[in-house]
């Protein structure tokens, strides 16, 4: 069983001390990536729930840089201590409450006390208080506790704060202050230099009129920055001078008029506001020398503010809302996590993107499923790839077996502003059975009722099976009506698109032999035939496995056609609701159809008998048929079948069930209960997709791939009991980081480019030719000679030169 497709951006990552590894919280595990290659090198497995914090123990001496220890905290209520080089679990501390955030202020100062002992290490954890009673809805559930890591126990009686919901704790780079934001206030505590179990804490509050979303501490000065939901960045200076200073006269300066911008009686000298972001600020980070502030938000632009002058620099076109910005111990490397499940490594002063670690694209909040349009993800049977339409009009190809991104295809052009209105949606993606052709349908959403446009695109795959190139674009293939389904014929170059407008079109791929140069343009997809049945909306379509029969669902009936001659063969059956999914089961003569709505139904039809074999009242989210044998799997939402249960119906994650059927038998072969089934996908995938590579005589085994609504997936062998028999080759070979160490000049500036001295030595063209005026202005403007020089040449060239042969 392979699981994958986890979110890389649920929590901020952490760099190792030598900045060669990046520790990313990925669900229940922590994945270790190499920063030089961007590939995964290891994994820390052991937590039982989502890991929320990872803290690398910093190196106190240069020699200890090779030490690879880290602390992790998880929602399962444990704190674990790891050696992530091995990787090996070293210690576990049980807190028994879900930890949402953890900071360890004194982790960097490993001072030895006079008696030769190390002082105790304390962590501050933001836990979700579990023992809250249901009848007190307003009681606070988030609490900050103190934990003695050395002695593996909580420090009793120390609760720094109680909040309505747990959030994240921010720590200052020096470890002297920790702070949280809650609604419209910031709370900042001073952590004493010598932390002990019994200690009083000084606390200040800073207020604002809008809810905060992020905060940051200046490394050296008493400066705190915070971002709010409207995109403003507030910068307080002289924070806590009254409260935190040890002098008694520190609090004299109570003069309200001398604190411009500071609200109420907050303990700060001044507060300035910067407003560039148009939407919520998610990222705030001071550079290590304290002279720059990094900020980012919904716009997907990283802004660098010079703190003293307010000048801005930008790194635009990141393409998705930013979530985290993390600096590494190596000053030239940092990482940005963005909401499209991607971590990008930046070379720092220049802010150029070195590497990007992409997870599977997350379902976006904007991608609400259109009525009648299929769920987003499409699994390719042969190549083991999953195609995910993303928010920014792309389709991402993600390898199920490798758990990493393969490529991306831009379906249509778009602006690089992530937050703006979605105007185009990629509705449907379909593949031919060999994976060589992709077809997409995109919808331009109407603005104020006009301007709606459907376009059907066919893409051809390159030889390396990496890149798709656009082959044919058909605008409005079915006039104004939307396309419900695209299906490829398993054999030959034919596709069918069915539309709600009441017709379907058969498209064929025409191979024009390029006899002349001009006919190359005709190498594309053209409409072969149009069919309709009683003007009924065509809601689904499928080819039989041998390609001889085309089944098109005309609302509640199934029409069978001869695709080549476009002849209606017969009409089968009648269902209660319009059919949404239609599929031939393997190489058999059976069709499985699913209809949804108020009377959902899963029906098995026999083509030979032209009748219904059996049917279930099931709300099928997805249907997958095996290519080879006569089994098929159904992903059904359990909300109807389990409606009797009182408690479980309120679950958010639309519990679903996967049922594996054989055609002849209405009793399912096996059943799996899954979560987050809404919007999920299901497919049989060949377990060793590259048939060409491995010449194996036996038929390829199939595994079932299930992708849930959060785009997490699992691959498993559906033929249950004999799990050992069909072994899925676990092809997760972690790449070994084997890059050569770079030092000196190249470590800072990179390799020197090889200068091509020949280019530099080429002089300006001296224009000896007759028609100087034609070529004198050619070339890029920066390489042209100065204008006075050009002018005389130009005029001279216009003059007729008397030939030298006059004498």
């Amino acid at each position: 069983m392979i699981t994958g497709g986890r979110s890389f951006v649920s929590s901020p990552p952490a760099f190792s001390n030598d900045a060669k590894r990046l520790l990313v919280c990925t669900g229940n595990t922590v994945s270790v990536f190499s920063t030089s290659t961007g590939l995964q090198t290891g994994e820390l497995e052991g937590h039982g729930a989502q890991v929320t914090s990872v803290i690398v123990v910093p190196a106190s001496t240069p020699a200890s840089k090779v030490l690879c220890y880290c602390w992790t905290a998880s929602l399962d209520g444990t704190i674990k201590y790891w050696d992530f080089a091995a990787p090996e679990l070293m210690r576990t501390i049980h807190i028994r409450f879900p930890i949402h955030s953890m900071v360890i202020p004194s982790i960097s100062s490993e001072r030895v006390e006079s008696n030769g002992k190390y002082p105790d290490l304390f962590a501050y954890v933001y836990i979700e208080g579990g023992k809250q009673k249901e009848e007190q809805p307003h009681s606070s559930v988030g609490q900050i506790w103190k934990c003695n890591l050395t002695k593996s126990r909580l420090v009793g009686g120390v609760t720094l704060a109680k909040t309505e919901r747990p959030g994240s704790i921010t720590i200052s780079p020096s470890g002297k202050y920790i702070g949280i934001y809650e609604k419209r206030k910031l709370l900042i505590w001073e952590i004493p230099g010598k932390d002990s179990e019994h200690h009083g804490y000084k606390k200040i509050r800073l207020h604002h009129t809008k809810p905060f979303t992020v905060m940051a501490f200046h490394p050296t000065e008493k400066v705190v920055a915070a971002g709010d939901v409207t995109g403003r960045i507030l910068i307080w200076r002289g924070v806590g001078r009254r409260t935190f200073s040890n002098e008694i006269n520190g609090g004299v300066n109570m003069d309200a008029e001398d604190r411009p911008g500071v609200r109420d009686n907050d303990d700060a000298d001044s507060c300035s506001t910067w407003h560039w972001h148009s939407a919520q600020v998610n990222v705030l980070f001071f550079s290590s020398d304290g002279s720059y502030l990094y900020s980012g938000g919904r716009e997907g632009v990283l802004v660098v503010w010079q703190l003293d002058s307010g000048k801005k620099k930008f790194l635009p076109r990141i393409g998705a809302p930013l979530l985290y910005f993390v600096c590494s111990p190596d000053p030239s490397l940092s990482s940005i996590s963005s909401a499209d499940n991607r971590i990008q490594l930046l070379r720092m002063p220049s802010m150029e993107i070195l590497k990007s670690i992409s997870g599977i694209k997350l379902p976006s909040s904007h991608m609400e499923i259109y009525e009648g349009f299929g769920s987003g993800v499409v699994l390719n049977h042969t190549t083991g790839l999953i195609a995910v339409p993303t928010e920014n009009y792309r389709v991402q190809f993600y390898s199920l077996f490798d758990d990493r991104e393969i490529s991306e295809v831009q379906i249509c052009e778009r602006n690089h502003q992530p937050g703006d209105e979605i105007t185009v949606k990629v509705n449907l993606v379909a593949f031919s059975s060999d994976g060589s052709t992709m077809s997409t349908v995109e919808t331009r959403l109407p603005e104020e009722g006009i301007g709606s446009l459907f376009s059907l695109k066919f893409w051809a795959c390159g030889l390396q099976s990496k890149h798709f190139s656009l082959s044919t674009v058909i605008y409005e293939p079915h006039r104004e009506s939307g396309i419900s389904c695209i299906a490829f014929r398993p054999t030959g170059h034919m596709a069918v698109s069915s539309s709600y407008g009441g017709d379907f079109k058969v498209w064929i791929h025409r191979h024009e032999i390029p006899t002349k140069d001009l006919t190359l343009q005709n190498n594309g997809w053209t409409c072969h035939a149009v069919g309709s049945y009683k003007k009924k909306p065509m809601t689904a379509a499928a080819f039989s496995s041998d390609g001889s029969v085309l089944a098109v669902a005309a609302e509640k009936v199934i029409t069978l056609w001869d695709p080549d001659r476009n002849i209606l063969l017969t009409v089968v059956g009648d269902s209660l609701e319009p059919i949404t999914t239609l599929s031939f089961v393997g190489k058999t003569e059976y069709i499985v159809s699913a209809s949804r709505g108020s009377n959902p139904q899963l029906t098995m039809w026999s083509m030979s008998k032209l009748c219904k074999i059996w049917s279930y009242r099931l709300d099928a989210e997805a249907v997958a048929c095996s290519m080879d044998n006569s089994t098929f799997a159904v992903l059904a939402l359990s909300r109807l079948s389990k409606s009797m249960e009182p408690a479980e119906t309120t679950l958010q994650d639309a519990e679903g069930v996967i049922l594996l059927f054989n055609v002849e038998n209405p009793v399912p072969l096996s059943t799996w209960i899954v979560s987050k089934a809404q919007g999920g996908g299901l497919s049989f995938v060949r377990s060793n997709p590259r048939l060409e590579d491995e010449v194996e005589p036996k038929t390829p085994d199939e595994v079932l791939a299930y992708v849930n609504g959060a785009h997490e997936y699992v691959l498993f062998n559906p033929y249950g009991g004999q799990a050992g028999k069909v072994s899925i080759p676990h092809r997760r070979n972690f790449s070994v980081s084997d890059e050569t160490e770079r030092f000196g000049y190249t470590s800072i500036y990179g390799e020197l480019p090889e200068f091509n001295l020949k280019i530099d030595q080429t002089p300006f063209p001296s224009m000896p030719s007759e028609e100087t005026w034609k070529s004198i202005f050619s070339g890029p403007s920066h390489s042209l000679p100065p204008l006075p020089k050009l002018c005389s040449d130009f005029l001279e060239s216009l003059l007729e030169r008397r030939s030298a042969a006059v004498e």
Binding site: S174, T220, E221, K222, G238, N246, P260, S270, S272, S309
Partner: protein, 824 residues
């Protein structure tokens, strides 16, 4: 129920080009592009700004800079003397005793971009006592009679202080104040202000390349800093006239472009120079070495103006992007790593925040200490107000304005003046102190002799317009200040242009509508308006003769029977001319006491005159707020009323019902009804003037006029400001009640120019209107657009002249600052 007719006239206010704060910090002079200078101040006992004076200067010479200089050893005025430089290279003094512009330095041949006065050595002393009291900032020294004892002692104290100051001053061996001028040819010229009429030349600093655009003195007066158009700041030794150092102003180390203009420079007491340049950068320099301390480029256009708070730890910059930005000196102690040792404090100028209220370029900034009197408001009532979506703008102004609070003023091309709190700059919204800048004087004649249509006289800068207000075909609306009010179309009847394009100072029209008169800076003129008998449509204007010896006038009025023209001449006498015979009938000299008439006039010039309907009384009011009552029948001065509560008279008039009652509204928003005959306050006034409702005292905006109901039975008056009007019924007592009305009214009035919540506001207006039906005294009615003039047309109809500010903005020469709206 009152019916409201609305009408609109041409209204072209002119941009503010210079601002200057008087020496004592109490008054602000604003020079406009059309050559007028306004004096703004906060009258004692209130917090609202009052335009005390408007002096019309030469419209052809454009003022480039204004400065108040300490008066010479004569030292009669605590304000100092107001000088202005002009683009044509001349320097003028603005004479408050004659209300005119006096050229004190003929053109030097090149443009003067900025002038700066030498700082006085006793700034500190001034600063100490300036919060005490200058009665109205009165320019005249002989102000003893109307001032009570406490204030006398204050002014004594004041005198001793200034004596001490003078001694100190003489120690420094400088007789006079020096004026440095930044000249277009690259020189800085220094002139001395002497007691004489003219400036005396002192020296010229060496000429440098480029144009000198800005100049400032160091705090001790030994150095001059000048900024030029080629991006240099030069530091000069004043005594030896040599260059100490020069700073090359560059942006971010790019070096100076040849076209980097240093528009503004100020030198702070702590030895920091602040420069604002055309690249939008405000830079702080160490004046000892000329090194850069901080650079802030938050402006998106040129930085036009800089100003420092009195404590010199805040600096404001105003730019052509309409922003005013605050920088603050922060002494951030940097803690070392372990946090125990605090190293020496690092002083840094940090950006704090900006406020953008101007729609056009901000041209000038100044900081004033306008309030010399604690406002004796009742103790702050703790009224819990429900949280509103829109906080009333004006109300916040009342929160921060109090005694001794420095106020920042900004002005620019959008002709408005805004006041900000220096200390709580980011906390409070700015206060629009002049919602209707350069309001044109208007006069309405209700029933003319020729026909029964009302005539409206509008005084523009160079001409007089007479409009006929048509009421018959227009639909009057109820008292709704919204745009749905009935529009009263006005027909232009006559336009009389002044001779040779001279600026008109004052004008008047007789109550019969047949005569009107104006005065420019040379002489007054009288005209007759007739409707020709032949064809009904046309009107004819004939010039009438006036006695030759008449001087030009600051104010004019006709007697109620239109037989006599009364002129307040610039020689501070009041002339009475019989219109029929064109003969001078009598000359009054306003006096404080019944002294000998022969003495030359010593009182400040008269700027307002009112005549009673029975023709018996003439009330003349000078710009300091003193009222002189003359009996026209006996040709004697009847009564002298010194400033009422020390405030200025903002508007006044005789009640039509009882000619003995003079109603006066002061700048501190008090209403007095004076019984002229009996020389005392009227009954109503005695009972109620000192207990007016609070909501009236916090009247939004300055009262600009009164309008009486022209009936003989009712005794009510409408008091109006550009934002609201208020009906006061003298028949009913006024009750003190909650100030929720005020909040509502202010909320209405506080609408900003680009408002999108129009619909919601309109609803509120209607709401207010329904309340108005309750006929309560001191009822407010807010206006949508700035109102220029309100007058009764008849017993129950009202003419309101207003103009939407957006239309006014369209008439400006300068384009509004382009603001990129996100997403467009």
């Amino acid at each position: 129920m009152l019916k409201v007719y609305r009408s609109s006239v041409e209204w072209n206010p002119s941009a503010v080009v210079a601002l200057a704060t008087s020496v004592d910090g109490s008054q602000v002079a604003a020079a406009r592009a059309n050559g007028t200078v306004e004096i703004w101040l906060v009258s004692p006992g209130s917090v609202g700004w009052h335009c005390q004076l408007i002096i019309h200067g030469d419209p052809n010479s454009r003022v480039s800079s204004l400065v108040w200089c300490r008066s010479g050893p004569r030292g009669e005025s605590p304000l100092g003397r107001l000088f202005s430089s002009s683009i044509d290279g001349s320097v003028s003094e603005w004479d408050f005793s004659n209300l005119r512009q006096k050229t004190v330095l003929d053109s030097i041949g090149v443009s003067i971009w900025q002038i700066a006065a030498e700082p006085c050595k006793d700034v500190q002393l001034n600063a100490k006592h300036e919060t005490k009291s200058y009665e109205n900032g009165h320019a005249s020294p002989s102000s003893s009679s109307g001032v009570d004892e406490v204030e006398n002692s204050d002014s004594d104290d004041d005198n001793t202080n200034s004596k001490y100051a003078v001694e100190l001053y003489e120690d420094n061996d400088t007789e006079t104040t020096q004026l440095a001028m930044a000249c277009d040819d690259g020189c800085v010229r220094i002139f001395c202000i002497s007691d004489g009429e003219k400036l005396t030349y002192k020296r010229t600093l060496p000429r440098v390349s480029g144009r000198t655009l800005s100049v400032t003195w160091s705090a001790d007066g030994t150095r001059i800093y000048s900024g030029s158009s080629d991006g240099f700041i030069r530091c000069w030794d004043v005594k030896l006239a040599y260059e100490i150092y020069r700073i090359t102003v560059g942006v971010g180390g790019l070096g100076s472009g040849s076209d980097l203009c240093i528009w503004s420079l100020i030198a702070l007491r702590c030895g920091t120079i602040v420069s604002g340049d055309s690249s939008g950068t405000v830079q702080f320099w160490d004046s000892q070495f000329g090194t850069l301390l901080e650079a802030h480029s938050y402006h998106k256009g040129d930085v036009n103006a800089l100003a420092a708070s009195p404590s010199h730890n805040r600096v404001f910059s105003g730019g052509s992007d309409g922003q005013v930005i605050l920088y603050k000196l922060s002494n951030d102690a940097v803690a070392s790593a372990d946090g125990n040792i605090i190293r020496e404090a690092i002083k840094k100028w940090i950006y704090v925040g900006y406020v953008r209220v101007h729609t056009h370029d901000v041209r000038v900034l100044t900081v004033a200490l306008p309030i010399g009197h604690e406002v004796d408001m009742p103790p702050e009532e703790k009224v819990k107000r429900p949280r509103r979506r829109v906080k009333p703008l004006d109300f916040s102004y009342h929160k921060w304005v109090h005694l001794g609070v420095p106020v920042l003023m900004s002005a620019g091309d959008d002709t408005k003046l805004f006041a900000y709190s220096v200390k709580e700059f980011t906390k409070f919204s700015p206060y629009d102190i002049c919602p209707a800048p350069q309001r044109m004087p208007m006069q309405l004649v209700q029933k003319t002799v020729s026909n029964q249509t009302p005539l409206l006289l509008v005084q523009a800068s160079h001409w007089l317009d007479i409009y006929c207000v048509r009421l018959k075909h227009s639909t009057a609306s109820d008292i709704t200040p919204g745009p749905s009010g009935g529009a009263a179309p006005t027909d232009l009847v006559a336009r009389v242009k002044s001779k040779a394009g001279r600026r008109i100072i004052c004008s008047t029209i007789s109550s019969s509508g047949t005569l009107f008169a104006y005065s420019d800076h040379v002489r007054p003129s009288l005209f007759e308006l007739k409707r020709s008998k032949s064809d009904r449509g046309s009107w004819t204007v004939n010039k009438r003769q006036l006695p030759r010896e008449l001087p030009f006038a600051h104010c004019m009025a006709f007697s109620s029977d239109s037989t006599r023209l009364l002129l307040a001449g610039h020689d501070r006498k009041i002339y009475v001319v019989d219109v029929g015979s064109a003969a001078l009938v009598h000359i009054y000299t306003p006096r404080r006491k019944d002294e000998a008439e022969e003495l030359p006039p010593s009182e400040p010039p008269i700027t307002k005159m009112f005549t009673s309907t029975d023709g018996k009384w003439l009330a003349s009011i000078n710009y300091c707020g003193d009222v002189y009552i003359f009996n026209l029948e006996t040709s004697r001065q009847h009564w002298f009323i010194s400033r009422l509560d020390g405030a200025f008279v903002a508007a006044g008039g005789f009640a039509p019902q009882n000619s003995n009652i003079l109603v006066v509204s002061t700048s501190s928003n008090q209403v007095y009804a004076l019984d002229v005959e009996a020389k005392q306050l009227d009954d109503w006034s005695r009972r109620h003037t000192f207990s007016l409702p609070r909501r009236y005292q916090e009247f939004p905006g300055e009262v600009i006029g009164l309008s009486f109901q022209p009936s003989s039975s009712l005794s009510s008056v409408i008091v109006y400001s550009p934002r609201v009007m208020c009906l006061i019924d003298f028949g009913t007592p006024c009750e003190r009640d909650d100030d929720s009305y005020l909040a509502a009214g202010q909320e209405l009035a506080s609408r900003k120019l680009p408002s999108n919540g129009v619909l919601k506001r309109k609803l509120k207006v209607y709401e207010l209107e329904t309340k108005h039906g309750g006929k309560k005294n001191f009822e407010f009615c807010a206006f949508r657009d700035p109102v220029l003039f309100v007058e009764h047309l008849s017993e129950n109809s009202l003419l309101v002249i207003d103009k939407p500010w957006t239309q006014v903005v369209e008439s400006f020469d300068a384009q509004p600052v382009h603001r990129h709206i996100f997403g467009t």
